[in-house]
Symmetry: C2
Subunit: 313 residues, 2 copies
């Protein structure tokens, strides 16, 4: 199934400025997402192609699931969505309930909240629930799985479990693990810009140079179609780290706690409307340019058009 292009879409969101989906006690509108993230949710609804999509909210990653659920229900309601429900899964036992599996099979949008990405894996790993989610993502056109913060980081097969910013790039500082496996070739970090997580993602990619590192800024998301076509949405930026050109690196050989050296990490900064093709490792400033390249590839390459070509430079 891995090599078949999924018909569904992923939307990975970097988290908002107010530390994930936790309510900000200083604002009155504490049960709403902020303006920017609401803009991204609007896109989530739009991408489903449904007027009033069936939305299931998964708050499993969060330690304050009731509050987070209220935030998402309020926010989707503001967007005129009236078919929003919460899959209140807090334990592995909850995840095994057949009615929840059935609801995934009927959903148009699944929204995964922030929190701790390891909880997603601990609770959903190997369940029929996860299998049903993956199957719907693979087979149902315009099915959307959106995830904020931990909900975004958990999407990939290889996942960052944690790691403090001050220790980044000291061998062993970043903790890697297995994610939900919706995406094969990337590793995702969130709250990227304001929390200064560059070093953490550089280390993750140095350790797994075949993976493309995606650092999601706050108030920013990445729409992923066909499992590898990325489009930046939102107000901030997305950082792409490409380790395919790495030359010298001591990342594998270094002792725990030793500083890591790396030669030739390629970095891109994407803003709203910029695109990135994970398979071809190519940046496109906009959709029009990608379409032009795709057309010329078809014209010149004939039958080989579906094969990956080297990155632009």
């Amino acid at each position: 199934m891995k090599n078949v292009k999924p018909l569904g879409k992923l939307i990975a969101i970097g988290g908002n400025e107010d530390k994930g989906t936790y309510p900000n006690p200083r604002t009155k509108k504490k049960f709403y997402l902020n303006f920017f993230e609401l803009g991204i949710l609007k896109r989530v609804v739009l991408e489903s192609g449904q007027e009033d999509p069936r939305i299931e909210v998964i708050t499993t990653a969060s330690m304050i699931p009731d509050e987070v659920a209220r935030i998402y229900i309020s926010s989707f309601t503001m967007l005129n969505c009236n078919n929003v429900n919460v899959l209140d899964i807090r334990t592995r036992e909850d995840a095994l309930r057949p009615e929840y599996v059935e609801r995934i099979r009927q959903a148009d949008i699944v929204m995964m909240s922030g929190g701790n990405q390891s909880r997603l894996v601990d609770i959903f790993g190997g369940t029929e629930f996860l299998a049903a989610l993956k199957h719907r993502y693979q087979t149902k056109p315009n099915f959307v799985i959106a995830g904020t913060s931990a909900g975004a980081m958990g999407m990939s097969k290889t996942m960052i479990k944690g790691g403090s910013v001050p220790d980044a790039l000291m061998k062993g500082a970043v903790k890697m693990g297995t994610g939900l496996g919706l995406l094969d070739n990337v590793v995702i970090d969130s709250h990227f810009v304001k929390r200064g997580r560059f070093g953490r993602l550089i280390e993750a990619v140095a350790l797994h140079p075949k993976l493309i590192g995606i650092g999601l800024g706050e108030d920013t998301g990445m729409l992923i179609t066909e499992g590898n076509q990325l489009e930046t949405i939102g107000s901030n930026m997305v950082i792409i780290m490409d380790g395919h050109h790495l030359e010298h690196s001591n990342a594998a050989a270094a002792q725990k706690g030793e500083a890591i050296s790396i030669e030739n990490m390629l970095l891109h900064v994407l803003v709203k409307g910029n695109l990135y093709d994970v398979n071809q490792r190519t940046f496109y400033p906009n959709l029009k340019l990608r379409e032009q390249v795709a057309e010329s590839t078809l014209l010149t390459a004939g039958q080989g058009a579906n094969e990956p070509t080297p990155a632009a430079s």
Copy 2:
């Protein structure tokens, strides 16, 4: 004079973990530098090639110059240096005193403290003092100018004046200005890793893509010989940003406050013993490999050996 290789050396130090050279109230040894930075100072002394070098400490950047002066005198004394004096320059008038200019002409090592790099430029810019410092750096073999934090950032011709981490990569967030001009082709940031300043340096290089960005980690320094040969010293790391391969970027066209997009920034992470040639934009894991490359270049290139060659990949 720019194209003549300086005979002196620069040692740019990222600052220590305790916020620059400010004493840490929690430790008893508050008037000493920490262990790691002391190791770097040892190297500073060693590079001068003198048994008991004449050391002049410049505390001009600092707002607590007396305390900073005591720290450096104590630290150099611990290293058996007994010829340490402070150039107590706090205003532009101080900088004009002829005896200070004369002392620069006699010094073996000049040590510039941390603080605010703009103060260095405001007070020394255009003075005979700065001209004497540059002249000695150009003409006196093994003359060492070392600088910590602001003292390192101020070394280059184009300098980062400031810019907050959370706003990095939003056009206008990084403030650029003119530095002391000891180095032409680089822009230097300090306290790089622990303060998460990646975005700030990426923005600086995107705005000035002909400059090599040098991000100095804490407890880490860069020995610079011939004005362009870099060697990493200390326990942490140095980040190099090379913008010479930039393709698409909106850095010039973006409005103030708009997120900046960048395609193809090349990034290296250097640890102790790793080298970087700024002119040739080449990373070398160690001195031996650089010498091998230099030898083979001489053998194969003949008369063209002194011309810059393209980066390794």
